[in-house]
Symmetry: D2
Subunit: 139 residues, 4 copies
Amino acid sequence: MAISEFVYRRRVQFPETDASGIVHFTNFFKYVEEAEHAMWRAAGLTVYDRMREITWPRVAASFEFRKPLRFEDEFDVRLRIVELRDKSLRYEALLTKDGENLAIGSLTIVCATRRPGEPMKATTIPADISSRFEVFRTS
Amino acid sequence: MAISEFVYRRRVQFPETDASGIVHFTNFFKYVEEAEHAMWRAAGLTVYDRMREITWPRVAASFEFRKPLRFEDEFDVRLRIVELRDKSLRYEALLTKDGENLAIGSLTIVCATRRPGEPMKATTIPADISSRFEVFRTS
Amino acid sequence: MAISEFVYRRRVQFPETDASGIVHFTNFFKYVEEAEHAMWRAAGLTVYDRMREITWPRVAASFEFRKPLRFEDEFDVRLRIVELRDKSLRYEALLTKDGENLAIGSLTIVCATRRPGEPMKATTIPADISSRFEVFRTS
Amino acid sequence: MAISEFVYRRRVQFPETDASGIVHFTNFFKYVEEAEHAMWRAAGLTVYDRMREITWPRVAASFEFRKPLRFEDEFDVRLRIVELRDKSLRYEALLTKDGENLAIGSLTIVCATRRPGEPMKATTIPADISSRFEVFRTS
């Protein structure tokens, strides 16, 4: 039942727009990842936790786009962890502007070992990390 | 039954990588759109067809990532139109390198009117455009 | 001798890094443009002022890079208007982190008319716009 | 007096444009770096040569912009090494389309050691690398 949503406010920057006058769709995925990293920092997790010995490759990403964003628009990414498994987790992200839903996305990441010269391999999320996610999890 | 796949060869450029040493996942979506535009040019369709009076907003995009790409890798985007409807179409894209599957994606676009000061509105794909897609359609 | 410097604080986002582990140099130019737009908003100027009938093409841009930025670094762009001419203006930008100079850049923009079907043409900066820049000008 | 120019042909991709309808200026710098890497590959140098033990930070970059590029434009980057020093080299890049000059840029890079946990340090360009550049040098 706990509170679970992390809200990240962002303004559209000019290079994120394209010649059709709106934000290029690939930036919506960037916005979600920015919100993810802001959420991790809010949980006390920094780059060292995720980039020294473990890494977090993205294994799935999707978006449905309903309304466009334009230059200088301010919007929110409402990010929730909707699945927290042994080795992976999945976010859902709702982008809103002035109370209106613009797009809804999903991002699944895996915890993987990172050893020079070896391929990445899925591993159990360390307990001291997963415990910090609990506060953000929808339940 | 019909030939349907358009193959777009691409090399990874340096700014497409990130500090984890691999291509940032958002670029996979850019690669699919590049392949789409190359396919349109191969079909004799240019920017004027799609950006004067009609526009093609993306309404859904998704990817599953299996293997990473690295700087200077050469890879193929194998693009197919898997749905061609009255007002929309959907692509599937398989990214491969040296015969190995790296990622599989889907992109749905809508044909929309583009009038200054008005919101975009879905419209029927002009017959002279849809007829050019037929050759690329899987059937 | 007026106050002149506008300070824009920013955090490095992950896709701005590259496989060498540092921020790709092209993003330094993006940071300066972001700071420019934030400065304009601080001066009460919005997208309408600059994108309806006039536009501001960049005619020169340069940077000298001394120290790198890394993922999650927080830094400042210290932006000043160092030349304000009839039809153009030039910014200087100093990027600093924890009081240390990282890079110094310059950006020159021109005020141009924007009419459909015609090439852009340099024009006098409207007085109600240039007057708002005065507060930021070094003197 | 040797031949010295490396020509890299490129087409503008959609996300490289912005809401003013032209290519965002930061992409001109990306085009030069792409041309640089293509030149290196043409000289038989690959990512291993530049990213294992040595790295090539950019220390200065500049551009003057005269004419814009638009979506789907094909253009050339005409790249020359104009200075080849002990530890650094400088490129000049002329961007042209249909024989017309669009922009002219300069990029200076330094050869640096790359050891984990240590700051980058300028070092002499290995002879087997610099010898490969000779063919591209203006003289």
